[in-house]
């Protein structure tokens, strides 16, 4: 990870720090995001993702450190219309139709998308004449997406954009976002779903307790946090025997069922099958994200960040 801005760098966060009273929300973040990149900020609740995005958007002033968006300050970038944001809150105002609200928002930007294009991309063409306050949760989320898209911004910041959506809505959302990314726009989104970050980001920054704990392409991050568990019913096995297999980090026993944790399930599974030919009910699963975060961050909660 470098904190030196390349000439065509999109976004640079340097030593970014923010506390709310005693809560140290963000503790010194250094990140460079390239123009055109789709980046996921992945982390559990309270990791500092929203605070970081608020500082990127200029909504929150950092206690220390700086944010540079395309070589300028967040406020100036926002004023110039370079930025579109979909925040966690931001319920659309009422007494307007969907189309009217998008038209109103489009008028604020120097080079907005055509209103119809924003409606189409967000999949809300057919509800364009509905009143903004009479929409379902999913429709409201798409309207908020249209508000962000109509700006046609260089940088799109999405704070847990799919939190209110069902599986189908989530997929549609990202199909639309891919179209945006394909036009060379930079997208930064916060999520606490590893699968979502993996499926849609070029790069994942893993945050926990206000720090960046990992930064790299999804495959790499997945390998680091995506530990696997193998569950199998084994006769004549012991915790000690299984623990001795190469690459095994943890073994639990529940009667005849054993749960083996390891970073690379392929090699462990081969070794396990070689040794216990009668293994039954084998299941291989990705470890939960919370668990993975704990593995990566340990109980490290030192205050001298």
């Amino acid at each position: 990870m470098t904190n030196r801005a390349a000439p065509n760098t999109g976004i640079t966060l340097t030593d970014l720090t923010k506390s709310y009273g005693a809560v140290r929300a963000v503790r010194g973040i250094n990140v460079t995001i390239n123009r055109g990149e789709t980046l996921a900020l992945l982390g559990p609740n309270g990791a500092g993702k929203s605070t970081t995005l608020d500082m990127v958007l200029g909504l929150t002033r950092p206690d220390a450190g700086t944010v540079s968006l395309f070589g300028t300050s967040p406020r100036d970038a926002v004023k110039a219309g370079f930025v579109g944001g979909m925040l966690q809150t931001g319920q659309p105002i009422g007494y307007l139709s969907v189309r009217e609200l998008i038209t109103m928002m489009a008028s604020l930007y120097p080079q907005p998308l055509a209103v119809d294009d924003a409606l189409r991309l967000s999949g809300i063409e057919e509800i364009a004449d509905r009143v903004t306050t009479k929409l379902s949760g999913g429709q409201t989320q798409r309207l908020r997406m249209a508000i962000a898209l109509v700006a046609d911004p260089e940088l799109l910041v999405l704070d847990e954009p799919t939190a209110a959506l069902d599986v189908e809505g989530r997929r549609d959302f990202w199909v639309a976002m891919r179209a945006v990314a394909a036009r060379g726009k930079t997208i930064v989104f916060a999520t606490h779903y590893l699968e979502e970050a993996d499926a849609y980001a070029d790069r994942i920054i893993l945050m926990a307790r206000g720090r960046v704990v990992a930064d790299g392409p999804p495959t790499e991050i997945k390998a680091r946090v995506g530990g696997r568990t193998i569950r199998a019913t084994l006769r004549n096995a012991t915790v000690a025997d299984l623990g001795a297999l190469e690459g095994v980090t943890n073994v639990e026993q529940h009667g005849e069922t054993f749960i083996v944790t390891c970073p690379n399930s392929d090699t462990v599974l081969r070794a396990l099958l070689a040794r216990y030919a009668d293994a039954r009910d084998i299941e291989v699963r990705g470890a939960g994200l919370e668990e993975a975060f704990l593995n990566l961050t340990g109980d490290d909660d030192d205050e001298n960040a």
Partner: protein, 243 residues
């Protein structure tokens, strides 16, 4: 003009918000019709009671209408819409221009409704008097625009009703919207420092002549405007630094 589109939709939203409009207009109207209707032939110091009470209700109604800007701001803050707007190039000045225009629009409507009600009870004024009163009322509302904006950034939605209702009632009562004040004494000296006193005098210009709007009126309004402007800026900065 791009900012005109934004302002256009803000005004449209206000017009479509029927419930808000009705509640803004109806209470001074009911009070006026009930009390002035009952006393339509009563004369106070040679002035017809309906005219007298119409001007009082116009001052109260327009004040309430304009302070209600605060309610809209507080609601938009609460649902996070203000934050959404802050990640757009919308200028703060355009945001407030739109809000002030919708406030003045509602205030104007309130005055017009009361003028029509007054006319129905026999109030007759020449065009110059009507226009003088209207102009002075609009000027007298300036400090209340700022009070509304300040409250909108200070008070949460659930305490807004009592805050706005209480403050406007107090100002209206002390200013003389509901009835005559003492004609001299310490209390009057104090009351004359309130912007609502002069708002009521703006109305009274229609019954006593524009000389009731004295140089003191301009000074009191200017001081209130400057002080409220300063306070509003402080409150606004504190509020937007936090969200």
């Amino acid at each position: 003009m791009k900012s005109l589109t934004y302002i256009h939709y803000e005004i449209l939203r206000t017009i479509r918000n029927r419930r808000f409009l009705i509640f803004s207009l109806i209470f001074p109207l009911i009070l006026f019709l009930a009390i002035a209707g009952e006393n339509r032939h009563v004369q106070l110091d040679g002035i017809g009671f309906p005219l007298y009470f119409m001007t009082g209700m116009a001052s109260w109604g327009s004040m309430t209408a304009i302070v209600s800007i605060g309610g809209k701001i507080a609601t938009e803050r609460q649902v996070g819409w203000t934050r959404q707007l802050r990640v757009t190039p919308l200028k703060t000045s355009t945001y407030f221009t739109a809000k002030v225009l919708t406030g003045y629009m509602t205030a104007l409507l309130s005055i017009v409704v009361l003028a029509l009600a007054g006319t129905s009870l026999g109030v007759r004024l020449d065009a110059t008097t009507w226009l003088t009163m209207l102009g002075l009322l609009l000027v007298g509302l300036i400090p209340f625009v700022l009070i509304g904006i300040m409250l909108g950034h200070l008070v949460s939605v659930d305490s807004l009703g009592p805050a706005l209702g209480g403050i406007t009632s107090l100002f209206a009562l002390l200013g003389g919207s509901f009835g005559p004040l003492a004609k001299k004494g310490v209390l009057l000296t104090i009351v004359k420092l309130l912007p609502s006193y002069w708002l009521v005098q703006a109305g009274h210009s229609a019954l006593l002549g524009s000389h009731v709007w004295t140089g003191e009126a301009w000074i009191v309004l200017a001081v209130w405007t400057l002080v409220m402007l300063r306070l509003t800026v402080v409150v606004y900065r504190r509020d937007t630094a936090r969200v």
